[in-house]
């Protein structure tokens, strides 16, 4: 079955991203396809490649990256809402240069895109599960 996930909260503050990750891992192990994970609201903070948790804690960003959720064209299907991301200072290379900012922080396993990707995930998937506060 094709399953998509929406995550509304950032890492370490709420359990939402942890639960979603465990859910996604279990779904993949069962042979389901995670069509897309869409990060919205503070959920965009799950995509920061600058995240440095203490050594004895999980690295939520790397955990997501290691799941390697991609489409047939090898593009990441860990999708960060562009409007929510820019508001919160989460930028990829292209958005940084477009806005004249001297750095970018989106992990390469994620990509920035529009809200249409969330709707499309709802249309294309058999199930959509929301994790939030």
């Amino acid at each position: 079955m094709k399953i998509s996930i929406q995550i509304n909260e950032g890492p370490y503050q709420h359990q939402a991203s942890d639960t979603a990750y465990q859910f996604a891992k279990a779904a993949i192990k069962k042979g389901h396809e995670i069509f897309r994970v869409f990060f919205y609201h503070d959920g965009v903070n799950n995509a920061s490649r600058f995240t440095i948790p203490p050594q004895d804690d999980r690295n939520i960003v790397n955990q997501w990256a290691e799941l390697g959720i991609k489409n047939a064209n090898s593009e990441p299907e860990l999708v960060v809402c562009i409007a929510a991301a820019l508001r919160r200072g989460m930028l990829d290379e292209s958005e940084a240069s477009k806005n004249g900012i001297d750095g970018n922080n989106i992990h390469p396993a994620f990509r920035i895109s529009g809200l249409g990707q969330l709707i499309e995930a709802g249309i294309q998937s058999d199930r959509l599960v929301v994790f939030g506060d």
């Binding site: 359990q15 465990q22 279990a26 389901h32």
Partner: protein, 98 residues
């Protein structure tokens, strides 16, 4: 339908709202702090009947993490994350009462 509730009934009204809305064929999965509502407490009457009908699940990892395994309401069904996935697959549309 599958309805997930992730907050304690002592903190939010999401479980109450969920129970007020769901139809007779829906099931509830308590996750994260929602598992606190799976324990025997002053609010238990909210879910006791549904649990007796076999329609209340709780995420085992969250129950164990919170040290409440021995305090659960009768007939709550425990599932792991794989069981969570199975519930999503089996029960159609998911509604999160966040």
């Amino acid at each position: 339908m599958l309805h997930t509730v992730n907050k304690s009934s002592f903190e939010r009204n999401s479980l109450k709202s969920c129970i007020n809305i769901i139809d007779d064929t829906s099931v509830i999965l308590l996750i994260e702090d929602g598992v606190i509502s799976a324990t025997k407490n002053i609010n238990s009457s909210m879910i006791a009947n549904l649990a007796n009908q076999g329609r209340v699940y709780a995420l085992q990892g969250d129950v164990e993490a919170r040290g409440i395994s021995s305090k659960l309401v009768d007939n709550i069904k425990l599932v792991d994350y794989t069981g969570f996935v199975d519930l999503v697959v089996e029960h159609g549309t998911s509604v999160s009462w966040v």
